[in-house]
C-alpha cells in the first residue's frame, strides 16, 4: 500500500504513543510481556527514523516571555561546533555587556563568528535613529552570514525584538532567510515573533513563563544564569 509519507509517519507516531515510553507506565508486570512491548516499540522507533530521511536547513524560532530562548540557541551553537561545523551569532540587543557565553565561545576560535551590537539599546541610547542604524548594521552582517555556505548555523539573537520595535522589517527578514544555502539552519530568538515569521518557520517553540518566584524574592540577575 502506498501511503502518503506524512500519513505513514503519523500512523507510526500513533503506534509509538500507544505502546508508550515504557518504565512503570507500561501495563505489564511481568518481564516477558514488558520485553515484548518494548521490542515492538523499538521496531516502530526504527521505522520512524527510516521514514524521515529528508535533510534541509531549518528555520527555528524561540519566542515567548519565559527564560531559555537565547540559551536554547546557544545550546544549538554548541552542538554544531561540537560536530566541527561553523556557526555565526548576531546579537541584536544585548551587545552592551560581556556575557559569559561570549567568553566561553572564544575557545572555538574562528569556527564561531560573533557580532554584537556595540552599545545598549532604547533606554541606553535614547535615540531611535541611532538604534535603527545599529540594527541595520547587524542585519547587513546577518545577511552576509546567511548567504555563506560555510556557516552551518546562523543565530539571530533577539531579532524578534528588533522587529517588534520597528527597527527591522519582516519582509527584509523573510527575504534574508531565502538567501540561505539549502542546508543552513537559522535560529531566531526573542519575544513577540511576528505571525509571518511563525508561518515561515519549520519549528516554533514558545518559552512560557510558568513560575518565576525568584523575581518576587528580590533575587538579582546572577552570573551564569542571566548573563
Amino acid at each position: 500500500m502506498n501511503q502518503h509519507p506524512s500519513d505513514q509517519a503519523s500512523s507510526l507516531d500513533a503506534a509509538a504513543a500507544e505502546l508508550g515510553p515504557g518504565g512503570d507506565l507500561a501495563p505489564e508486570a511481568d518481564q516477558d510481556g514488558y520485553r515484548r512491548r518494548m521490542a515492538r516499540r523499538k521496531e516502530v522507533q526504527q521505522q520512524r527514523v527510516g521514514e524521515r530521511n529528508l535533510e534541509k536547513g531549518l528555520v527555528l524560532v524561540f519566542t515567548g516571555d519565559g527564560k531559555g530562548k537565547t540559551t536554547a540557541a546557544l545550546g544549538l551553537a554548541l552542538r554544531t561546533l561540537g560536530h566541527g561545523d561553523q556557526v555565526a551569532v548576531v546579537q541584536f540587543i544585548k551587545g552592551g555587556w560581556q556575557p559569559g557565553e561570549a567568553k566561553a565561545l572564544e575557545l572555538f576560535g574562528e569556527a564561531l563568528h560573533w557580532h554584537a551590537l556595540g552599545e545598549g539599546f532604547t533606554w541606553e541610547t535614547q535615540d531611535r535613529d541611532r538604534d535603527r542604524q545599529l540594527v541595520q548594521q547587524a542585519w547587513e552582517q546577518s545577511l552576509a552570514y546567511l548567504a555563506d555556505a560555510s556557516r552551518k548555523l546562523v543565530v539571530l539573537d533577539e531579532v524578534n525584538v528588533a522587529l517588534k520595535l520597528g527597527y527591522l522589517g519582516i519582509e527584509e527578514v523573510l527575504a534574508g532567510l531565502d538567501l540561505r544555502p539549502e542546508l543552513t539552519h537559522v535560529a531566531l530568538t526573542g519575544r513577540g515573533a511576528p505571525p509571518q515569521l511563525l508561518e515561515r518557520a519549520d519549528l516554533v517553540t514558545e518559552m512560557k513563563l510558568v513560575r518565576h518566584p525568584f523575581r518576587e524574592q528580590g533575587v538579582k540577575a546572577q552570573r551564569g544564569i542571566e548573563f
Copy 2:
C-alpha cells in the same frame, strides 16, 4: 514610605511596562519627547536592578513538549563555564549516543564533569530492572555533584522523564536539592515535571511546541539540531 520589597518591585515593573520598551512602540514622534521617556525608563531600570540584590542558588525547571529544554540547560552550562565556574551534567536518558555537545564540551576539560548513562533506555534495554539500576547510579552521581560546592551549576538532564517512568522518586529528588550549598544552581529538564518539583522551583519554563511542520515533511533528526 516603607513598602514591602515585593510591592516596591511590582510597582517598578508596572512603571517599566507603562513606559514601554521604546522604538516605534513609544508614542512620541519627536526626539526630545522620546529621549525624556527613555531617560525615565533607564532610571526605573536602574531602580529595578537595585531592588533585587539577593544572591541564591536557583532551582530551574525546563519542561513541556517543545524543543529547547536540554539546549537551554546547555546554554546555562556554557555561560557558567565562560565565567570560569565549574559545571556538572548528568544525563538521565540520552547516554546511548555521542552528542555534539559532549564533543564540544571536552574543550573545557576538568571544569566540566559529564556523566551519561552508559546505554540506551526502555526500548533499548527492554528491562526495567536494568533501567532502574542505571538511573540509580546516575542519581548517586547527581547527589555527589549537588553536595559539592565547587560545582556552581548542576544539570540533571531528562531527570523529569526518569521521574515520570517511575525509576526515581520525587522525594529523593527534593531531598537531593536540599543538599546543595547555598549558591549552587541546578537545572532539571524533561517533559512531564511533577507538580511537587514545579512547586519547589525558583523558575519554571514550559517549552511549548507551537509549530513543528518539519516532522510532517519527513525531515530527519539533523546534526547540530537534535544531537
